[in-house]
């Protein structure tokens, strides 16, 4: 392979991002959908928090604990969905054949998916977080710098899952697109979003600790309940995410190669 074959072009990545920004600009239902579900979730959990505040000493200790959890969980979910939906847009529009007879490298597509997922997650969860300020007098930005660490670790885990899902949809066709909506919920009970890992049965706890999200949510609770930032959890989350993201990228590229072997890039569909 020559230097030109392993090129990494920001212009090509920008071209794909531009393609999806064009789409977002002229499709308000798509933008609305990004903000709608995170906001509905936030409102629901906001009222549950108001109710539990007077009935639960745990919630009374830190009123924002449920709302922080629900918003941060949505970072992971939207991060994953952002990758999968943007990739499936190419399949729905039967555009993959044209894209991959251009000099676009599959890893450049991965980079553009990640960028678009970041934009979509910021719009969706950011919108819900802003609405929470006047509605429930809850400002997640009060978490300060740790919020950036929580956000990045969760969105990166979402990217890893999203890339695996995209690979599966490429390999098995749009008939498998429901995987994009359900995949992340298979691990949701293990992510310690609303309860600590120690609540889980002993044999499941090692599985939970192998998820970056569990470390983030445990760290979030420590910060809200005890005002301490646990660097130990952060280090674990970052280390695991390095493995998860590498695994996600490798899986997507593996499925992409399988698609080239099976002729799926020209014949996308169910």
């Amino acid at each position: 392979m020559s230097h030109e074959d392993i090129d990494f072009s920001t212009r090509r990545i920008g071209a794909l991002v531009l393609r999806h920004l064009y789409l977002m600009r002229k499709s308000w239902p798509r933008v609305l959908e990004m903000v709608y579900w995170p906001t509905v979730q936030m409102v629901l959990w906001g009222f549950i928090t108001l109710f539990l505040q007077t009935n639960s000493s745990y919630i009374a200790q830190a009123a924002g604990i449920l709302l922080s959890a629900v918003l941060l969980w949505d970072v992971l979910f939207r991060g994953q969905l952002g990758i999968a939906l943007v990739f499936m847009e190419e399949m729905w529009s039967r555009n993959l054949g044209h894209l991959f007879v251009s000099p676009l490298r599959p890893y450049e597509m991965v980079a553009s998916l990640i960028l678009m997922s970041l934009i979509r997650t910021l719009i969706g969860v950011g919108g819900a977080a802003i609405v929470a300020i006047p509605l429930f007098h809850f400002n997640i930005f009060d978490l300060g710098l740790p919020l950036i660490a929580f956000f990045l670790n969760l969105v990166i885990m979402g990217w890893a899952v999203g890339l695996i899902v995209s690979g599966i949809v490429l390999r098995y066709g749009l008939g498998a697109e429901s995987v994009a909506w359900i995949a992340v919920f298979a691990i949701q009970p293990l992510c310690a979003i609303y309860y600590p890992v120690e609540v889980l049965p002993g044999w499941l706890q090692p599985v939970a600790w192998a998820l970056p999200a569990s470390h983030v949510f445990e760290g979030m609770r420590e910060l809200l309940l005890h005002q301490t930032f646990n660097w130990h959890h952060l280090a674990y989350a970052v280390g695991l995410n390095v493995l998860y993201l590498a695994g996600g990228i490798a899986t997507f590229l593996g499925y992409f190669r399988a698609a080239r072997q099976r002729g799926l890039l020209l014949h996308v569909g169910e």
């Binding site: 074959d5 789409l23 002229k26 847009e89 529009s93 000099p103 099976r262 002729g263």
Partner: protein
């Protein structure tokens, strides 16, 4: 232009593709001459699209080698893709984007300079000025085909692969597209490989014809020589003979 020393723009050697034990392309070798239009003919399921997909690198061959513009396609695919392009009515562009937006995205993918002027010029040449700011999904079949062709000509390819470029078009639009391709080839010296079911198109445009049946190349030559060899009066009759596996008619 940097074609190989023999003057072949494509050289495929012992190319095969097997899908789940079914042989779609079976041990074919072909050489496409530089600067001319070559037609790849065959009935449905003959292996034309599979062959085109392998030449484009969209599909990995089970066995065999491909050299394009003098370089190994499997080794230097991305370098070569800058110098090639492809159009097919069966591969779409994003429906909600306008024609201009689609061409802009693809122009960036090919890292083209002077993109705005380039789009304006190609739109003028293909009579797309009036639909540049219309959504691709709202265009007629003929307009979509012209947009797909505009996309494929954006980077001024030295090698253009076309899968049924005039399928489902009215005779007037089809003629305009053929004329444009002929003018492009005359201006740039580009090579064109064309998969088509339209025999009058093949007779008009192709200097060479490769005929496929059931994944194999069964005959090749210029349209005139094939018509003569089969003792027929048109490529349409030759096509039917080949598709139905008839013996050669001798004059």
């Amino acid at each position: 232009m940097n074609a190989s020393h023999q003057g072949y723009v494509i050289e495929a050697h012992r190319l095969s593709k097997v899908f789940d034990q079914v042989s779609a392309v079976d041990d074919i070798s072909l050489q496409i001459r530089h600067g001319v239009t070559t037609a790849l003919l065959g009935g449905n399921g003959a292996g034309k699209t599979t062959t085109l997909a392998m030449l484009l690198g969209l599909l990995l061959p089970t066995t065999g080698s491909i050299r394009i513009l003098g370089e190994d396609m499997l080794q230097h695919r991305y370098r070569l893709l800058h110098r090639m392009n492809f159009s097919s009515p069966y591969v779409d562009l994003p429906q909600r984007l306008t024609v201009r937006e689609n061409l802009t995205v693809y122009g960036h993918l090919y890292r083209l300079s002077d993109l705005k002027q380039r789009i304006r010029r190609i739109a003028g040449e293909l009579n797309l000025d009036e639909v540049l700011d219309r959504r691709y999904g709202r265009l007629s079949a003929g307009q979509k085909t012209r947009v797909s062709l505009a996309k494929s000509l954006l980077n001024e390819p030295e090698l253009l692969l076309l899968d049924e470029p005039t399928a489902s078009l009215d005779p007037d639009t089809a003629d305009a597209i053929r004329t444009h391709l002929e003018q492009y080839q005359k201006r740039t010296g580009a090579s064109i490989l064309l998969a088509s079911h339209n025999m009058s198109e093949v007779e008009r445009m192709a200097a060479d014809v490769i005929m496929m049946r059931r994944g194999k190349i069964v005959d090749a030559g210029s349209p005139d020589r094939l018509i003569d060899r089969y003792g027929r009066s048109s490529m349409e009759e030759v096509f039917i003979d080949v598709a139905r596996n008839r013996e050669l008619h001798t004059k």
